[in-house]
Subunit: 744 residues, 2 copies
């Protein structure tokens, strides 16, 4: 862990006690006996997969299952994963074929294998625990524990520096996996690139003012070039992190329905296929979905917009001051309903589209979210820019339908005047105030809420604990009371189990929307990129704080790109070019003199310019970064060369063990190891040939941790399933009822 | 040669006598002694590279050097090439590492290795013969001989069938290499795809008439889908033929100037690098070039067009009937001058851009040719469609500058009327008459010319031969006279040496232009695709006839695409959508009622539709043909698997010889082999470590051909260099002069 060398605080509260993974089992809606049966199955599945378990009670009617993967089992899984990576040409360093176990290079690699051990289906050698799906609907959380020390150290380091280095990104990758690292790489790359338009913006603001042709063109060129550059950067990072093309080896989703199985004649590998054309036809449903979303959200926005304009600028009656806020309030209240309705439609559609892997599923879902986000984020400003300001004078007077409807309402008798600066004001609001609001809403508010909720929860639990204390046997009491040494750890465990999962796609989307504001409306106020630049300094750190402190640690999933948002960036750069051209054309001179034909001509020319610049930029990037892009090829070439030499017998001596060190199985020690006290009595042999440790191995796994760790894993000498059953009984019975029953 | 199993005519005239490669050395402009010295160097270089040579005289002051690569040398080169292919992941079948020699699977593979043996630099193990460049400027032809029997059989078979099958394409590939095969695959795929618009066209012609919105939209969609489909098809074919990504292992052009050498740390391979950004900056010169070309060709076309319109429709004076043709004639005469001037600029530019490989160079050159071709092919019709017909009434009367210049010319006093159907007539002409004309011009005319020229040449040679007979020694006489058994072969040899090289890019470009006519103007006359479909049936066979009968056999170069024309197709599909929209808008109703703004709106919408359809089509193709596109990955995966298994020692027994047959060196017998009579006395050992056969090997190479073959290779028992020197002396001295000298 050279990348974390500086961190060796190892404070007692931050120790994870060797817990690799945590499941939260909520049985509130179940009969006691059913719950116990289900929990016993869970325990059986986990131990059958060769995992060690400990159970503790959570908040309310919930159990927390702490899982530990024996180190040799983990080593085997890591090695298997590496061999698979190598075979699918994701990585290019031949793993040693003589060793059956490998040491993970990063915590993320380790946790990924743990994640696989817990979630993969039994055929693949996992325990088949699929949270919130099918049989395991009641598993409401499934997460690894945070490495508090590392996160604290990183947060501290980042608050002191201006620019993240590639080593920081490597650290993120080592802690949270590539998918999360790609988000931080993107925001870092984007923020650094923002320096250019920010500088241009300052010049533009001083010398050209808003709606300048020069600044607008420069901004569009920057947008296009940035997107093309990011594609190269992404490729490079994927190579650096050894994840290029990682999508192919992702396992099937449990929900995936295939139509036929194809056995590859060469590799003997069985692929489960769902015809591409069918999926494509189903994907075409995106078009009606987008239309429905556009109509639903669009009409909501238009109505809100129109009534707001009407009330603030036409209506002049009673309560005008209060009514002005009504449309916005109604909008804010009804938007979540519509959005959640649309999201549920989107989820069903994506489900119907039947993707093989979780990645593809997420990709399709994000696409739909993007469509909705695009409409809600951009439509209001688009309406201001292209409808209200240019056509307001014609349209607004027609808004007096209420009057025409016969109602007697006082109207402003003055001639209606369009507020020409409204568009610019909105853009300023978007780039400054809205960014700060969204930061608070996204990071600070949830943090405060979470803290308060936890306080309340702890109070509730204490109260319940006091009543319970008097009503159960001593053994159950011991289970319900946290051992003193474990208290801070269990408290943290319960907090993390209560937290939300971290959705990296949402953060990426947020940055895309910001990029969209800049591309579409940036020309209206040259200081927009400066505002975004400052905001992103905070945003980057805030997002990391949210990830490390507020949310559950995400499973370290691999990815070789920021995903569908890349397409979104392309789209926004294109829209941006058209929009910038139109805005400059409309707002630059006298708005009344603008002709439709000249406007169309401007936009048409802008589009051709966009196509040309994008083509040139893409070609240029590929030429300039040819060497970078070629690195991957060189590695592949080297593999082939080694193979050929080995087959020629030239390199037979050397190539036999091209891995790191031959012979002995090295295992990384992550905490002080002591004595094995825990004996897995329930572990049985596996009937299938799946790669899982034998019983001997599990027993061999020596837990040489600290005293506290040993104490944790050795806690209840009886069966964990029994312990869980007892806890379920204790928690599910209402102590008050029991008391009254006793009294009766 | 299972693919040619049906052909076993083996007629004596078509026998190539074991000649692998032919060089034509022309020394007309050199002093006799210089020519002899140069020729001796040539002989030394060839024999040093381990090649066998025979020399015969050509037409006029030219020698023909017949080259034969000893079979074991050839086997080594084929094996080396396969190993390299494998290492660069072009192919996925591990070549046996224990064998040093391999048998070519196709004639093309064999000839490619022969081509390398002749043209590669000495460091790479070739003879370093670069025709028409540097030291070897006087080598005016360098080609393999045609396989007449195979070509005849193919021509016969194709004339009987309607549609080429994939086996026919495989045959083309086996005979002429992948680059040529890709052209035939393209024209086949394009022609089959044309059936759809042809059918639509017939319906459109019967029910909708020209300028129909429905037919136009369908045509545009077809164009976009076809281009996307071809991309998939190309990918698939490249996989079938094992040439994906073949560009990387092409050798450096001798003209390439590198700036630094980079040694790869892993593979130890040295790459000679020229910075990408420099090349990109140089490539930007394409923009001024395109502008110059557009201005030069554009003004020529505009002037021709204007004067033609003026003479035919305004002028009414003397010789009107004759003068009408004058502009076209002047245009036809001046176009070659301008084109050749532009081509020479283009060549210089491409040279300056400094490409590493011949492929990249050709690509850049073809791009420039495309620009020129685009202007000359499409501008006249574009002028008719968008300038003459809509604005003719306004512009044409202004053409009377001649009158205004004071000249007294009779003008048509009638009101000028624009010929509204002129555009449609031009389109009909383009799709029918012009295609037939170009077919004659491209295939029939050169054939007739060539035949006549050959007759004349033979007559000249006979005359020269008669005079020579009397003036030289017997030994030289023997050299000058063709041995009776060789006469038909040598005649064919000389004919082929005189032929032009086959330029596959030109043929591809011709098809692109045809596609462009269809995409841009097809909506004006629905029967255009039908005309093209019929034309292409003939074109395909005509092109093969040209390739097989009229031109030299091209070196079987590999490629994994039709090259830059693919970009051209994309561009034409885009232009086509805009153009179709505009034409339908302008020509559909009353032309006078067309407003600029509505026209712009139509074109703008069409462009968005184009972008959307292309995106959907590309996605759909990738979904639908996912399995096809994934084949390559499976093969790569299998290689990795084999490697891993081999390194694990599991497959050590099997993987040792995964090639075809172990142990013995198999050599394919291409003609009956007899006794070795030819002893290469000049062959010397090589000082560098380059892969070339040792002296023993060359002497071992047993030529067991037919008697006639043995006679050919055994012809002159003395040194070939001496034979050449004698021939040079005999041919360079003018017999007439000699005679007169004798007389004097």
């Amino acid at each position: 862990m050279s990348w974390l060398a500086g961190i060796s605080l190892e404070s007692a509260e931050n120790d994870n006690l060797g817990v690799d993974w945590v499941l939260q089992y909520e049985f509130g809606d179940l009969e006691q006996s059913q719950a116990i049966a289900e929990f016993r199955t869970l325990m059986a599945d986990l131990t059958e997969a060769g995992l060690r378990v400990q159970v503790r009670h959570g908040h309310g009617k919930a159990l927390l299952v702490c899982i530990r993967v024996p180190r040799d089992h983990l080593g085997t899984m890591v090695q298997q994963s590496r061999v698979k990576d190598w075979m699918y040409a994701i990585t290019h360093k031949l793993p040693s074929a003589t060793e059956t176990s490998a040491t993970a290079e990063t915590p993320a690699e380790e946790i990924r294998s743990i994640y696989h051990a817990v979630t993969w289906s039994k055929e693949l050698g996992g325990a088949g625990i699929t949270p919130e799906f099918g049989k395991w609907e009641r598993i409401t959380a499934s997460f690894p524990l945070h490495d508090k020390d590392a996160c604290t150290e990183l947060l501290r380091a980042w608050s002191r520096k201006t620019v993240l280095t590639i080593r920081d990104l490597d650290t993120i990758r080592a802690l949270f996996g590539e998918k999360v690292a790609f988000y931080f790489a993107f925001i870092q790359c984007y923020s650094i690139a923002l320096v250019i338009p920010a500088a241009m913006g300052i010049v533009g603001w001083l010398y050209f003012g808003p709606y300048s042709i020069i600044y607008g063109s420069a901004l569009c060129v920057w947008c296009i070039c940035f997107v093309e550059y990011w594609k190269v950067r992404e490729f490079d990072l994927a190579h650096r992190w050894g994840v290029r093309g990682v999508g192919v080896l992702k396992v099937n989703r449990p929900q995936y329905k295939w139509e036929k199985e194809i056995k590859d004649p060469i590799t003997g590998q069985v692929t489960r296929v769902f015809p591409g054309w069918k999926q494509f036809l189903r994907q075409l449903l995106l078009i009606p979905f987008a239309s429905v979303a556009a109509v639903a959200l669009g009409s909501l926005i238009v109505v809100t917009f129109a009534s707001e304009v009407f009330i603030s600028e036409v209506y002049d009656g009673k309560f005008q001051g209060y009514l002005e806020f009504a449309p916005t309030i109604i909008f804010s209240l009804s938007l979540p309903f519509i959005t959640s309705l649309l999201t549920s439609i989107a989820t069903r559609l994506t489900e119907y589209e039947n993707y093989r892997t979780r990645d593809l599923y997420d990709l399709a879902q994000t696409q739909k979210t993007f469509v909705m986000n695009f409409i809600t984020s951009f439509l209001p400003t688009i309406l201001t820019a292209y409808v209200y300001v240019p056509f307001g004078k014609t349209i607004v007077p027609h808004l007096d339908i209420i009057k025409r409807a016969g109602l007697n309402i006082e109207m402003a008798h003055k001639d209606f005047q369009v507020d020409g600066s409204r568009f610019q004001q909105e853009v300023i609001y978007l780039s400054m105030t809205a960014q700060i609001f969204s930061f608070c809403e996204e990071i600070i508010l949830p943090y405060v809420k979470q803290k308060l909720y936890q306080k309340w929860r702890n109070y509730q639990d204490r109260k319940a604990g006091l009543t319970r204390q008097r009503s159960f046997s001593k053994a159950t009491d011991l289970l319900l009371l946290d051992p003193p040494g474990e208290t801070p750890f269990l408290q943290r465990l319960r907090e993390e189990a209560d937290s939300d999962g971290y959705e990296v796609e949402e953060d990426i989307l947020e940055m895309c929307v910001q990029f969209g504001y800049l591309a579409l409306f940036g020309v209206a106020w040259p200081l927009v990129p400066l505002g975004f630049l400052l905001n992103n300094w905070l945003e980057l750190r805030g997002d990391f704080f949210k990830l490390a402190r507020e949310n559950q640690r995400p499973p370290p999933i691999r990815a070789d790109s920021i995903g569908p948002s890349l397409l979104g960036l392309d789209f926004l750069a294109w829209m941006g070019t058209l929009s910038t051209a139109a805005i400059v054309h409309i707002y630059r001179g006298n708005m009344e003199e603008v002709h439709l034909s000249s406007l169309l001509l401007t936009v048409f020319i802008a589009e051709q310019a966009y196509l040309a610049i994008r083509f040139i930029a893409a070609t240029a990037m590929q030429k300039i970064f040819a060497e970078t892009l070629y690195q991957e090829e060189i590695c592949r070439h080297a593999v082939r060369k080694d193979f050929y030499e080995m087959s020629a017998g030239i390199a037979s001596g050397r190539a036999g063990s091209p891995g790191d060190s031959p012979g002995r199985v090295r295992q990384r020690v992550r905490f002080h190891e002591r004595v094995n006290v825990y004996e897995s009595g329930t572990d049985t042999g596996h009937s299938d040939g799946s790669p899982s440790p034998t019983t001997e191995k599990v027993q061999d796994d020596v837990l040489k941790g600290s005293d506290r760790e040993a104490a944790f894993w050795n806690a209840h000498s009886y069966d964990t399933a029994d312990a869980g059953a007892k806890l379920i009984r204790a928690l599910s019975e209402n102590p008050m009822e029991e008391k009254s029953a006793k009294r009766a």
